[in-house]
């Protein structure tokens, strides 16, 4: 599913943010990604959700080399990836419902076909009462839950999450972890970047450690 070999990344002429990163994730794998702030976790995730291209090395996703993916194929690959952004990236002019439904809407699905699923998922993450509210009035935790709901609504094959429990209380964090584990049990491959050691302990899943751009498979 994911194959990185000697991947390096630098922004412009700056120093290398990621150095010789190599790892493989097979379908159904569940990994945590840990490391101090500034270690390059978010940059690595950006590479994986095709927001950036590696400056060297090879990155293959779903069997495709990212450098040779045709423009018209890119959206289809991105639809197989769910992303939870650290800064949520909700659209302020859309309601919580519309934000969560966005991946289905851009795939040209009708509202009729996804309305029930979106409401069920909002109910599950405890946001059904905020379905018609807009992001500026949501709390940090609510925004995070909406962002997670948006990432999983289209049942992606690969879920990438950047600090998905950073703004929620331990009870909700545990609930979200169960959601991730359940999705993984149903076949979704997971890579979750987090600082939350308790979460990693609870999940009993392997972790990769990134420090100063170098990845250490623990």
């Amino acid at each position: 599913m994911l194959q990185l070999e000697g991947v390096g990344l630098r922004y412009g002429r700056g120093p290398e943010i990621l150095r010789d990163v190599s790892f493989v994730m097979r379908p159904g794998d569940f990994y945590f990604l840990t490391g101090p702030s500034g270690a390059g976790k978010s940059s690595l995730l950006k590479l994986l959700f095709l927001s950036l291209q590696p400056t060297r090395g090879s990155l293959r996703i779903f069997g495709e080399d990212v450098r040779s993916i045709a423009q018209d194929k890119l959206p289809l690959i991105r639809r197989r990836i769910g992303v939870v952004f650290q800064e949520f990236r909700l659209l302020d002019h859309l309601s919580t419902f519309d934000n969560v439904a966005l991946p289905l809407r851009v795939a040209n699905k009708s509202e009729q076909s996804y309305k029930r699923d979106v409401m069920d998922l909002l109910d599950w993450v405890g946001l059904s009462h905020q379905a018609r509210a807009f992001p500026p009035v949501l709390s940090g935790g609510e925004k995070q839950r909406a962002a997670i709901a948006r990432a999983v609504i289209a049942k992606p094959q690969l879920l990438l999450a950047d600090e998905p429990t950073g703004n929620v209380d331990p009870v909700l964090a545990k609930r979200l972890l169960h959601l991730f584990l359940e999705l993984n049990r149903l076949g979704t491959t997971m890579l979750i970047a987090t600082h939350d050691k308790a979460l990693i302990r609870q999940a009993t899943k392997p972790a990769m450690h990134l420090e100063q751009g170098v990845l250490d498979l623990q």
Binding site: L50, S51, P75, R78, R105, V106, N108
Partner: protein, 296 residues
């Protein structure tokens, strides 16, 4: 509840584009109006000129000019393709020379006599044969107005080319304005566009979310331009009622022509909103797809 618009309409509003495109449409209407008027005037002039000829009989020493005029009239009367022959009195020739020679000073001068000839448009006379026949009389010159017709046609062609050039410039400016406006909308909505890409939106899907606004802007500005253009022609027509010619008469003839001409004129004028909409829609779509294609 209807899903909200994916691209917010209040970010990078297209009001300025609508106003600018309305001005462009207005200018296009004026240029088209001028084009129609020139075309109509030239058609009238040239058909009038083509139907008419003048035969000039000059005084020749020791020849009776009246006898020559009568000889010419007889030739013309029976000639195939000639409908009307009108011998103008000596005072007409004198009147034509008045601006140069002044009033009452033509006594005893050899002023030529003029004969007005109206030809059949469907079956015009054979001019070569006619000239041969007219040579039987002395001091005769046939003026077919071809020179004037050629001058008028040349002037009309120049005005027509000028009007088309103005229309072309307006179109090019309009395209440039729409390109800039499209870039501004994309720039202002960059975070939204980025997110749409990341959740798997195709470029064509994103373009569709934006170009609907350009379609509305083009349509609205086009109709505003035509409305202002028609209002201008109406005001010009109303303000110059007394004059009976010039801009006023031209504007009135444009607005209140006979139905067969009016349908064509209004049809061409109302092509402006269609063109403005097409320019907005096609240019924004092409610009969007090109710019979005450059983003990963």
């Amino acid at each position: 509840m209807k899903p909200g618009p994916i691209i917010p309409s209040n970010v990078a509003s297209l009001k300025s584009l609508t106003v600018t495109m309305a001005v462009m449409s207005y200018l296009a209407c004026l240029a088209i109006g001028a084009l129609i008027l020139v075309d109509r005037a030239v058609t009238n002039w040239t058909s009038g000129l083509a139907r008419e000829m003048t035969v000039q009989v000059r005084q020749v020493k020791s020849v009776d000019i009246n006898a020559e005029v009568e000889k010419v009239r007889k030739i013309l009367d029976g000639f195939p393709g000639i409908i009307t022959v009108e011998v103008l009195g000596p005072e007409v020739g004198a009147k034509l020379l008045e601006p140069w020679l002044g009033e009452g000073s033509l006594e005893g001068l050899p002023v030529p006599r003029l004969i007005r000839v109206v030809t059949d448009e469907e079956a015009p006379p054979d001019l070569a044969v006619l000239e041969d026949r007219l040579a039987e009389a002395q001091g005769v010159h046939l003026d077919t107005h071809r020179k004037w017709e050629a001058e008028l046609t040349r002037m009309a062609r120049a005005l027509t080319i000028l009007s088309y050039a103005i229309l072309l410039l307006i179109s090019v400016s309009a395209i440039a304005i729409v390109v800039f406006a499209t870039r501004a909308v994309l720039q202002a909505n960059r975070p939204v566009v980025e997110l749409l890409h990341l959740v798997g939106a195709r470029n064509s899907y994103i373009a569709r979310q934006i170009d609907g606004r350009f379609l509305r802007s083009g349509l609205l500005s086009g109709f505003m331009g035509v409305f202002m253009g028609l209002l201008t022609f109406l005001l010009l027509g109303m303000t110059g009622v007394e004059a009976g010619n010039g801009f006023a008469a031209a504007s009135r003839s444009l607005l209140f022509a006979s139905p067969d001409i009016a349908i064509w004129s209004y049809g061409v004028l109302f092509a402006v909103p269609v063109a403005a909409t097409a320019i907005c829609l096609v240019t924004s779509r092409v610009t969007l797809l090109r710019r979005l294609g450059g983003a990963m």
